[in-house]
């Protein structure tokens, strides 16, 4: 309820911040399904993000496809890419850092293709046709409608994550993350389970790509396939707590507020805010290796254990 009323209280700048937080929260949650729950640490989610952004944008420009169905098609394109990459990686048993690097390579390949292709066709970047202010066209003059769109998307993914968490598939994801051999020996089809995680994660990540394109109405190779996107997708969940329902959104909150605050207070000294930002990140990762929510859980367990001992 508070989140629904929020944009009417805040100014334009703060609505933008809130939208960014939700956007990174959503992106993190999509990553979290594969990286956090199923433990398949992807370092190249930009591949799906860019795939989604390019699919809906190009369809809109060349075929006049409305961005709403475009977003769904973007998701499907991301999903197909995810299944393809997933099949190759998981079929041949790429695990841990090898999988992470393979994903990075996929994203980089797509980025290089995008660079070459854009130099030839879109030297000024891809600019979406301006259609004015209309819900039907997924274009708004004000930032507030975008806020509501991403709020809805985030809420939907939050709801889905919660449902996965309390069902068999969620436990299977975690089983694979914790110990793949043991999971297999207890009847878990590791390959199939990883493919499901990959499909969900790539589908929702690609949809974030469409949102991004509609929000900024312009797109280039770096914004779509750049390593920065891959890092942003995983930083939130890791900071907030990977493999938890609320971790990614909490992480996105902390990151965004931290980066905005450091920028506001230290913006005068160029680069200093990035140093402070990096320093705080290092501290959190050293002292809370399981993220903020993971750290709280451990504290809670310790407190419980102590209470038991006193009894």
């Amino acid at each position: 309820m508070i989140l629904l009323a929020l944009p009417h209280v805040l100014g334009k700048y703060h609505v933008h911040i809130a939208t960014t937080i939700l956007f990174f929260g959503y992106l993190g949650m999509a990553w979290n399904l594969l990286g956090g729950y199923a433990g398949q640490f992807s370092f190249g989610h930009a591949a799906f993000f860019g795939m989604g952004a390019f699919t809906s944008s190009l369809l809109q420009i060349h075929a006049g496809v409305n961005p709403w169905p475009g977003m769904l098609l973007a998701g499907m394109a991301g999903l197909l890419l995810g299944l393809f990459v997933g099949y190759i990686c998981f079929r041949y048993g790429l695990r841990g850092p090898y999988f992470a690097l393979a994903m990075l390579a996929v994203a980089e390949m797509l980025r290089l293709v995008a660079i070459q292709w854009m130099t030839a066709k879109y030297p000024l970047g891809i600019n979406l046709p301006l259609k004015g202010d209309s819900l039907l066209d997924f274009q708004f003059k004000s930032k507030i409608p975008y806020y509501y769109v991403i709020l809805l998307m985030t809420a939907g993914l939050l709801f889905l994550t919660h449902h996965i968490e309390v069902r068999r598939i969620g436990l299977y994801f975690k089983a694979i993350r914790e110990n793949e051999n043991a999971a297999e020996s207890l009847g878990v089809n590791a390959f199939k389970t990883k493919m499901i995680a990959m499909a969900l994660s790539s589908f929702f990540t690609a949809m974030a790509g469409t949102f991004y394109a509609q929000y900024y109405l312009t797109l280039d190779d770096e914004a779509a396939f750049g390593t920065a996107v891959s890092i942003e997708a995983l930083l939130g969940p890791i900071l907030g707590g990977a493999g938890t329902v609320f971790g990614p959104i909490l992480g996105a909150c902390i990151l965004e507020l931290l980066s905005e605050t450091t920028r506001n207070f230290l913006g005068g000294y160029s680069g200093v805010h990035l140093m402070v930002y990096g320093f705080v990140l290092i501290i959190v990762i050293i002292f809370l290796p399981n993220g903020v929510l993971g750290g709280l859980k451990t504290l809670f367990r310790k407190a419980q254990g102590q209470r038991k001992q006193q009894e």
């Binding site: 068999r168 975690k174 089983a175 914790e178 110990n179 020996s185 207890l186 009847g187």
Partner: protein, 244 residues
């Protein structure tokens, strides 16, 4: 009725022959022990039966079906489950969640799987520990958890890889009693064990492996007197000195 039949199984790692032309059968309701000195190939045999390794030659039949080369999860879903010598807990999950994963192999519903897992935790003596993380358990409890996870899949045949070794004497006795109870649940058991007291008191029959080959098979009493078995364990000189 023969539940599990292993026929002329062979597995090599590079130049090393881990298992050579090994055959045996497991009958419904029996407890078959597998013994042999370290490195004899016992765990390799388990890894082949449960689908973790592919044999070079030979076949594995379970309930009349040729399951050679099946994936581990397929083997498990057919009713043949195993424990690991080095326990393999899902470390950052609770004890209850660990066992639920096994229960989910045949139960989809979260609530029913939880109920099933709780009743199994009671049987293996871990009910009190249900909400603790598996990583925090002692070795004795870990072995019990290993058994609990496997039982949750409701197997017809269970392969136990050294579930008694490493336990203190009270824990060992509890575990042996628990394994004897499994027979009453109609579970057939194939067990690898180094603790002789356990294997001699549990097994109906014993197969002895040495350098990947079967060197003896029979009732525990016969096996303990077989000179070839004593030689494998204690050396040729011991046999000569004893005049066996």
């Amino acid at each position: 009725m023969i539940l599990l039949a292993v026929r002329e199984l062979t597995k090599t790692f590079g130049g090393l022959v881990a298992i050579k032309n090994l055959s045996f059968e497991l009958k419904k309701g029996e407890i078959l022990g597998i013994i042999g000195p370290n490195g004899a190939g016992k765990t390799t045999l388990f890894n082949m039966i449960t689908g973790f390794y592919k044999p070079e030659r030979g076949e594995i039949h379970f309930k009349g079906e040729n399951v050679t080369g099946f994936r581990p999860h397929e083997i498990c879903r057919r009713g043949l489950a195993r424990t690991f010598q080095i326990t393999q807990p899902f470390a950052n999950l609770t004890v209850l969640e660990n066992v639920k994963i096994g229960a989910h192999s045949r139960i989809k519903s979260n609530r029913e799987a939880t109920e099933e897992a709780l009743s199994i935790l009671e049987r293996v003596g871990l009910y009190e520990k249900r909400n603790e993380l598996a990583a925090t358990l002692s070795i004795g409890h870990r072995k019990s958890l290993e058994l609990g996870k496997v039982l949750a899949t409701k197997p017809e045949v269970i392969l136990l890889d050294e579930v008694v070794a490493g336990l203190n004497s009270k824990e060992a006795n509890d575990m042996i009693a628990r394994l004897k109870m499994l027979r009453e649940d109609n579970i057939t058991i194939l067990i690898i064990e180094h603790v002789m007291k356990a294997i001699m008191s549990l097994s109906d029959r014993i197969v002895v492996i040495h350098y990947g080959e079967k060197i003896g098979e029979g009732k525990p009493v016969e096996i303990s007197k077989d000179p070839r078995v004593i030689e494998a364990y204690l050396g040729e000189e011991y046999v000569l000195a004893k005049g066996l």
